[in-house]
Symmetry: D2
Subunit: 429 residues, 4 copies
C-alpha cells in the first residue's frame, strides 16, 4: 500500500533477526507489567473494533509503545509507525514490530532531519484513517503536505502536553481540519504519567547517567505543571532541596506553599546543582544564566523539545566542549567552570544513553486511554467535529477501573441515597 521509497526498519539494520528477538523480549517484559493493555488485548482480539482502519503513528518506538501498536493491530487495524524523535527509537523493538503482518515500522534511531521527515511521509503514504501522535508531527505533516488525505481521516490522538498545546493554537486559528483527542489532557494521563512517569524516570536516568545523588542537592525545577510537580515531589523525596521557577503566579504560589523555594531562574541558576526544565517552552535557561552557575552543575531537560536550554548560546561562550561521560557533554567556561549538559538537552528520560523512557506502568495507563480513544474514533469518529476534543470521561474512567481491578484495589460506590443527595440542593444545615 505504501508508495514511499523510504524503506521499513529492516533495511537499516545489520542483524535483523537478532534485533527482532531482543525487541520481542523487551516487549514481553513490558507487557508483563501492563495489566491494562493485557485486559484490552482480550477485548480487542475478540471484538476486532478497528477492522478496516489504517492507523498512522509517530511515537517513541520502544517496548511499551510497541505493545500499544500491537494491540491496535490485534484489534484489526493496519498500522504504520515511525519515531517522533530521532534519538528515542529502539531499533530492535522497531524490527520486532515490523514482523507483524498488520504493522509496518519505519522508525530507526539516529536518522538525520531529512530521513526523519521521509519516514513520516512513508507512514502517510499508507493513507491513514486515524493518526496517533506524540508531538503532532504526523498531524502537522498531513495538514501541510497532504491535505488531500484529510477527508478520509476520521480523527487522531495526541499524547503530549506540547502537542496538545500546539493543536489548540492551531484549532484557535481554524486550521485543524479533523477531530483530535487530547489524550494528554485526560486525568488518567496528567495525574499519573506526567507526575509519576516523568518524575521518577527523569531522576533515575540522571542518577544513573552521572552516578551522583540528590540528598542535600539544590535541584532547580523549571516549570510547576504536572511534570514539574512530579519532578519536584520525587526530588524532595530523595532529600533534595527543591527550588522552583515559574512564570504563572498561582503555580509559583502553589510551589511556595508546598514548602519549596521559588525564585527567578537568574537567582536559581546560581544555587543549582541540577537544573531540570519541564516547561514545554523555549529559552528557559539562557545566556545570562550560564554566568551564574557553579562548576559541575548538571543541566537537563524533561520537556518535549530540546529548546529549553539554549545550547547555541552555551557553545558560543564555551572554550572547550568534551564528552565527560556517556550522555554528558561538559562545556568549559573561560574561568574553568564546567557546565554539564545531559543528553544534548533532549528529553533526558528518553535520549540519555541509559534511558528507558517512561516507566512501564504509567505508559500502560496512557496507552490504555489511547487504545479506547482510537476505538471511539473507529466507532463514532464522524460524530466529532474538526478540532481538539477531550477524551470522553467514561472512557477515561473505564481505564481507571481496569487498572484498579488489576491491582486488586477495591473501592466504595455511591448508594442511591448518596447519589440523590449529591444532585439535590434543598438540604438545610
Amino acid at each position: 500500500m505504501s508508495e514511499s521509497a523510504y524503506p521499513p526498519v529492516a533495511a537499516h539494520l545489520d542483524d535483523v533477526e537478532a534485533a527482532r528477538t531482543e525487541g520481542r523480549r523487551k516487549m514481553e517484559w513490558a507487557l508483563q507489567h501492563m495489566p491494562i493493555l493485557q485486559s484490552l488485548r482480550e477485548e480487542f482480539e475478540a471484538d476486532q473494533p478497528l477492522a478496516g482502519e489504517t492507523i498512522g503513528m509517530a511515537m517513541h518506538v520502544e517496548a511499551k509503545t510497541a505493545n500499544l501498536v500491537e494491540l491496535l493491530a490485534l484489534g484489526g487495524a493496519e498500522v504504520a509507525i515511525t519515531g517522533c524523535n530521532p534519538l528515542s527509537t529502539h531499533d530492535d523493538v522497531s524490527a520486532a514490530l515490523d514482523t507483524h503482518e498488520n504493522i509496518t515500522s519505519y522508525a530507526v534511531r539516529g536518522v538525520d532531519d531529512e530521513e526523519y521527515y521521509e519516514a513520516i511521509d512513508a507512514v502517510i503514504a499508507h493513507e491513514p484513517t486515524i493518526t496517533v501522535d506524540d508531538g503532532m508531527d504526523m498531524i502537522a505533516a498531513i495538514h501541510e503536505d497532504h491535505p488531500e488525505l484529510i477527508d478520509s481521516i476520521v480523527g487522531g490522538c495526541e499524547e503530549t502536553t506540547t502537542g496538545v498545546h500546539r493543536l489548540r493554537a492551531m484549532d484557535d486559528d481554524g486550521a485543524l481540519e479533523y477531530p483530535v483527542f487530547a489524550v494528554n489532557d485526560t486525568p488518567m494521563k496528567t495525574l499519573f504519567d506526567n507526575v509519576h512517569g516523568t518524575g521518577e524516570s527523569s531522576l533515575a536516568t540522571i542518577a544513573m547517567t552521572t552516578n551522583l545523588s540528590y540528598a542535600g542537592k539544590n535541584v532547580v525545577v523549571a516549570g510547576y505543571g504536572y511534570c514539574g510537580k512530579g519532578v519536584a515531589k520525587k526530588a524532595a523525596g530523595q532529600n533534595a532541596n527543591v527550588i522552583v521557577t515559574e512564570v504563572d503566579p498561582r503555580k509559583a504560589l502553589e510551589a511556595h506553599m508546598e514548602g519549596y523555594e521559588v525564585m527567578p531562574m537568574e537567582e536559581a541558576a546560581a544555587e543549582a546543582d541540577l537544573i531540570l526544565t519541564t516547561t514545554g517552552n523555549r529559552d528557559v535557561v539562557v545566556d545570562e544564566h550560564f554566568d551564574q552557575m557553579k562548576d559541575g552543575v548538571l543541566l537537563a531537560n524533561a520537556g518535549h523539545f530540546d529548546i529549553e536550554i539554549d545550547l547555541v548560546a552555551l557553545e558560543e561562550r564555551a572554550v572547550d566542549v568534551y564528552e565527560a561521560r556517556d550522555g554528558v557533554e561538559a562545556y568549559e567556561m573561560d574561568d574553568g567552570r564546567r557546565l554539564n549538559v545531559l543528553a544534548e538537552g533532549r528529553l533526558v528520560n528518553l535520549a540519555a544513553p541509559v534511558a528507558l523512557g517512561h516507566p512501564v506502568e504509567v505508559m500502560d495507563q496512557s496507552f490504555g486511554v489511547q487504545a479506547v480513544a482510537v476505538r471511539e474514533l473507529a466507532a463514532n469518529g464522524e460524530a466529532y467535529e474538526a478540532g481538539v476534543h477531550d477524551v470522553p470521561d467514561e472512557l477515561d474512567r473505564e481505564i481507571a477501573e481496569i487498572k484498579l481491578d488489576a491491582e486488586g484495589v477495591d473501592h466504595d460506590s455511591l448508594t442511591d441515597e448518596q447519589r440523590e443527595y449529591m444532585g439535590s440542593w434543598d438540604h438545610g444545615t
Copy 2:
C-alpha cells in the same frame, strides 16, 4: 433599615464591652497575618468600590471572616451578617464587628434552629444587593422565602465545595435566579484553603482535643478531593499510615499511586485509629461500619455538614454515651468497645471546643478572592447572567500576585518570544 424583630448580637451578651475588646484583639492578630486583606484595605478605603451596596452575609463569624467583613465595609458597603453554623460563631468577634457603623451582626453562638433562621431573615431584611454565603443558606432563604428581593440583587459569592455543588444542581434545575461566583472553585481557594487549611487545622484540632498523636496510626480519610488530599498528605507528614476510601475510580487510583492504601470503608473501619470524613456527602460512616471498629477509635468530620457520620444509628446501638473529654463523646457498645465521636460529628476544625477554624493565611487567600469578586459584582454584576459563574481568572491571579509580593517571592515572566512560542504551532522537532 432592618425590619426584623431579631436583635443584633449585643442583645444576647452579658458583658458586651469585654467581648468587643477581646473580639477586636482577635481580629488584630488575624489581620497581622493577612497581607492580602491588608493590601486590599488600602485600595478599598481609597477607591470606595462598594459604595451604595448592601451585602448580606452568612458565614462563620470569627476573627478572619471579620476582617473580610470590615474590608467590605471600609470599601463603602453596608454589611449585615449572621453565622452559617450555630456552633462556629465567636460572640466576641461578632460583638466587635457590630460596633462598626456600616456593619450589623446577628451571629450568636449556640442558637437553636429557629433562631438560626430568624437571624438569616434579619440579614435579609436589610435588602442586600449582594450576598456572600458559606453553605448557600442565605441564597436558599432568599429564593424560597424572599423572591421579591431577587430583582435588586446583582449577584452573590459562595465559599464552600458543598455550597457550590448545591448551587450547580439548583442552576441545572433552572432555579438559580441571580449570578453567583463559585469562589470555592477558584484555584486560589481549592489549591490552598482546602488542601493546606482543612488539612492542617483538622489534624491539629484533633490532636489538641485528644492529646493523641499520628505517628504509626491508621488514619482513614474518606474522600480524596482537595480536602481529603490535604488531610492525607499532612497526616502522612506526621507519620501516620494513611488509608483512603473513595467512590470515584480515578481518585481512588490517584490515592493508590500516591502510596496510600485504598479500600472500601467496610474494611477500612476495622483498621482505623481515626476516621476523618471529607466527602461532602451523607452516610459515609454508617451502621455496619460501627461493628468493625476497634475500641478507642476516633470519628471526626471535616465536611461541611454533620451528616457524614450516622450518629443516629450509632446512638441506637450504644449502651452508654458520655463525655469522655471536652469535645469527645464516647459511644459505648455492648461488647465494651468505645467509639469516640469528636465535635458531635460537625466539622471538627470549627466545632470542637478548642477549634480555631481554618488557619489565618489560607483564609486571607480565600477572602482576598471574595473581596475582589464582590468588587467585580458591584462594578459589573449586570454583565453576568443568572447561574453559577467561575471567578474571572484575572481576579484570581491578582490575589496570587498580591500574596507573592507580600511573601517577598519573586518569579519569572514570559518573554515576548516565549509568549509567541506558546501560541504557535508551526515549530518542528
Copy 3:
C-alpha cells in the same frame, strides 16, 4: 510520714471534689490509649514488685504521668510527687492522684519559686528510697540539702535530655552519689518520645495557640538532636520550608543532607516565620538576632528550660509588651516590628494555655521504661554503683515487645542459623 509543713494539693484548691472527678476522667482517657501501662498494671498488681519502697517524684503532673504514678503505687510503693515545672501541673489530676491511699501529691500549678522548692522538700520528707526526676531537681535537692538520705536510696531515674546531661556532668565530677538510670537515653524514649512526641505536640500546640499554618513558612529549628529532628520532619510534613541551626558539624551535615537549609542563627533569624529552640542550651536566640527578625515572627521553645530565648534582652529593647493572644506576648520594637513570644519561652507543648504535653502514646513508651527501670532498682538496685547507668537493654526491648503486641504488629525472629551466622566471621564471599 511527711514532716513537711507544706500541704498536699487539696489545701490549695477551692473545689477539690470537682477537681478530682475531672482529673480522674483525664486519667482514664489517657489510660485508654496507654497499652503498655495497661499491661504492666496487670503484672504489677499481681507481683507487687515495689512493696516496701518509697518513691519520690518530681515530674510534670498531668494525666499521663498520673497513670505512671498510679502504676507504681499499684505495684506496692508509697509515692510522693510534686511538679518539675511551676506551669505544667494540672491541679485536677494532682488532686485525683492525691486520693490514692499510697500517693501524696504536692503539685500545684502556678506556685512561685519558694513554694516550688518547698514542695520538693515536702516530697523529700517522705524519705524516698527511689527517686524519679524530670529535670533532676529532686536529685539535686537531695544531694545539696539532704545528703543524709543518700545511704537509704537504692537509685533513681531521670526522664529528660537536659537532666541526664547535667547528671553526667555531676557524675564526671564524682558528685553523684547513687545510681541513676538515664531513661532519657533509652532507644524506646529517644527514638519515639523526642522525635514523635516533641515534634507533633509542639507544632500542634503552636498552631492552636496562633491559628497560623505551616505551609510555605520558614520554620527555623535550633538544634538537630532527636527533638530537633522530630520538629523538622513534622514541620516539613506540613509543607514548611525548614531551616536548621546547629553547633555540631556532623548534625549540621545530617540536616543539610536531609534537604533542609542550614545556616547560623544570625542569618536564619532574618528568614524566620517561626523559631523553635530544641537545644537544651542557653542563649540560642539573643540580642543581635532580634534586630534581624521580621514583623510578626513567632518565637517558641521546646527545650527543657526557658533559657534558650533571651527574654531579658528582648524586654530591654522592646518599647511595649502586651498579650496579643492567650499564650502570646508581643514585644514591640521601636521600628514597629512585633516579635511574638509563645508561652513565655517555656516549653511550649507544656506551658502554653492550650498545651496538653506530649501525646499519650509516646509517654506510654517512656513511662513503660520508667516503670520497669524502677522495678529493676527495687529488685537489683544494690548491684549498680553510684553514677549514671544506661537502662539495661533487655528492659527496653521488653517494652518494645509489649507495645508491638498491643498494636497487633507481628515481626520476624532470628532462626538459629541466622543467629549463628551473625556471630560468626569465617564465611567468605
Copy 4:
C-alpha cells in the same frame, strides 16, 4: 616486590590503553564531585603522611574508590589493590590505577573463586603495613594464611557493616591480632553512606534495570538498619507503599511509628511488588516465601553478600529459568508465576549491568574518613591495641567540617557561656 605469580590487571585485558583512557575519564568525573578527597589531596601531597607505608586493599574497584587509592599513593604510600567482589570491578578503572607508579591493581571483573583468592594473595605478597577492606577478605586471608605478616602490620580499616560485624565476632574470640578501625561505624558513614548512598543508588539501579516505577507499589524492605531506613525513606519518597520486615522489636517499632507497615516476611512476600533485602544476614527470603509471591515480583539484595535470598531453593522449585532482561533472571514456577531475581541476588547497586555503585558524594565522605583513618594508623598505629576500634571522633568531625566548607554551609559555634553551661549541673528551674 610482589612474589605472586598472579599478574596485575593489564595482563587480563585486550586493549589496555583504551581501558586506561576510559578509566581515567571516569575517575576525573568522580573527583570533580568529591570535594573532601580534593581537599585531602592538597594536604597529603604536601605532607606525605603515608611515606614508607605499604597499603593492601580489597575494595570495589571503580572510579570513586580509585580516587581514594590515588590519594593514598599521592600521600606517599605504595598501594596494592584487588576487588572485594568478582562482579564489581571496572576493568578500565583498574587499568588506569595500575599505571600509577605507586599502585599495583590486580582487580579484574568476572574472575572465578580461585582467581579471586589468588588476587588477594598477590596483594598480600606486597607485605602490607596497613590493610583497607570492604568485607574483611584481606584481613581474613592474612590471619588464616599469612600470620607471619601480622607483626609488621600497624593496622587496618574496614568499610562495611558486615565486615565490622564479623571483625567484632573475631575480636570477641580473641582472634583479631592487629587494630582495625571500624570505618563503617563512624557517624560520617552510617548517617550518610548507608542511608543516602544505598537508598538512592539501589532504587535507581532497580528502576533502570526494569523500567518499572515505585508509585503505588508495595516495596518490602527486609531489615530496618541504616541501609533499610534509607531504602524505605527513599522508596516512600517515590510514592511506594513501604512494608518493613525486622527481627529486632525496637527497629520494628521504629518502622511502625514512621508510618510503614511492619509484618513477618511470610505475610510481606504475598504483598510484594519488590522485595529488597538489607539485613546482612542469610536466608531472609527462603523456600516457603516463594510460594506466596505474586507473578512478576522483583527480588533484589542490597546487603553485602548474595546469601539473603535463597537462590538454590528457588532454582530447585523453578520449572524454567531464563534471562528476562539484562540483569534480570526470571524463575518460572509450575503455576506460571514468574519471580524475577535482579543481579543474581548480589548487591544490586554494584552487580547489576547498569549499576554504578554508591553515589560519588557519599563515597567522598566514607573515603575521606578512610583516608584520615589510614593517616592516623601511619602516625599513631602503635598506640592502638589489637582489636576493633572506633575511628577517633575528631577525625570524623574533621571530615564533616571539610564537607560543609565545600558545600558553602556555615553553622553556629558554641559560645564559652554555652560550653560552660553544657558542662555544668547546678542550674535550677
